[in-house]
Symmetry: C2
Subunit: 263 residues, 2 copies
């Protein structure tokens, strides 16, 4: 039996912050012929809205703390402003987008991260086994295109801020029983870059260890790669990290671009 392919594409903040980039990407995304899911991050708007409302972002070791007021802001910006504008734009391109948080149809229940040395506040951790793949598949079977905001819920009435890279990889993993899942992290660079700023065309788990040891990989790329390997171990068929403008050609024309992650 041939299993149908499903693309899970995640776009980051730098694309969302630039209207031109975003529209260009959404135009490309709308033309992907396969079944597909879009996961989006936040972008700077949340920080801007926070500041305008007099809420200073709280960070610990560079990681955001989601207190009660910050949760309100990210819910407004991610689940409201960003998610619904993406959906409206996709609809104008004939792509039947449906914007979702983890609370909607209970697609992604999460667990509030326990306070350790750091209390991250209303931050949610998720697990592919808990993701409601049947409902997501109901949408996919009716050619709806889920657009998922990085907000989940604890099933006790509270929303939770959740890393969008993780939402993408765990959702891809959850749907791997039903589809051949291809996970794509799209961002503003050409892929994972080497010391000399050239694209590394593929990374195995051995390469990954080496790159880590040599401190070539850092910052935002660390969780992406960690999520990528986790996804492969959980049955995701392929993971690619690439420039947002290459997504369409990779999917529709089999172009080899960006960095392929191999388990």
């Amino acid at each position: 039996m041939v299993i149908e392919r499903l693309y899970i594409v995640k776009i980051g903040g730098n694309i969302i912050d630039d209207e031109g980039y975003l529209k260009s990407f959404l135009n490309d995304f709308s033309r992907i012929k396969n079944k597909k899911i879009l996961v989006h991050g936040g972008g700077k708007t949340a920080t801007e809205v926070s500041r305008s409302l007099g809420i200073e972002p709280k960070l610990s070791d560079g990681r955001r703390i989601t207190d009660k007021e910050t949760l309100k802001v990210v819910t407004m910006v991610y689940a409201g402003l960003v998610n619904k504008n993406i959906c409206a734009h996709l609809q104008s391109l004939g792509c039947n987008a449906i914007g979702l948080t983890g609370a909607d149809a209970n697609i992604i229940p999460a667990v509030k991260r326990k306070a350790g040395e750091i209390d991250f506040g209303f931050a949610g951790d998720i697990d592919s086994n808990k993701i409601n793949s049947q409902i997501l598949n109901l949408f996919l079977e009716h050619w709806l295109v889920p657009v998922i905001a990085p907000i989940t819920h604890d099933e006790k009435g509270s929303l939770l801020n959740t890393n969008s890279d993780t939402i993408a990889s765990e959702t891809a993993a959850a749907l791997s029983d039903l589809y051949e899942t291809a996970l794509i992290y799209a961002f503003e660079k050409e892929g994972v870059l080497n010391k000399n700023e050239t694209v590394i065309s593929q990374i195995t788990s051995e390469d990954y260890r080496e790159l880590l040891e040599n401190k070539i990989i850092k910052d935002g790329m660390l969780p992406k790669l960690s999520n990528a390997f986790k996804a492969l171990h959980k049955g995701v068929s392929s993971v690619t990290i690439c420039h947002y403008s290459d997504v369409k050609d990779i999917i529709n024309h089999g172009k080899t671009s960006g960095t392929k992650i191999i388990s």
Copy 2:
């Protein structure tokens, strides 16, 4: 053939603004055994967020003008903060809520109101014939509970601010081919009140004309009643205007409360 009953309940701003009222109502709503849809209005939070962001609400004859910045705020507050918190709370009560705007799955396409003497800005007018009842029914058939925010879209990429009373009545009308639809406007009063502040138990279209002539009905009640009669003419089976705490008993125990609108 017996047609299944569907309840469309609309709650207004005064309920949303009070956490106690809202939780009490959602608790009741979650216990309604029939298929159901919740439509919510905005509440004062949008005005508060607007002011905090330095955007003064613009009104013309008491009616809100939705300029570009105000559209951002209502999208954040209605589609994000209010809608997603309602969904998370309903999920905690075992009610499988799915939060939607008109842009999601294209359920409610709208037309931007043409500028006449007043330019209402990004305000959307809707028509039951354009509402995507098939997709709403797909959700209902899978026992999902649509929670609809008062935001629609123009199919050209722009979101539009839309009256929630109208969303409730037009959605009820759109689903009247598939269900016996009962529309309930729930708010903080006991029903439509007479001069002496007692509840008018039923209003026919003749009564309505009289009440209008005698100026007993005014302000927020005018569009509700106008929508109610329109809904009945479009096939909605019953319209009730009642106190939010009576909704459960009206539905589950056939209690006679509030004002019944009769065509």
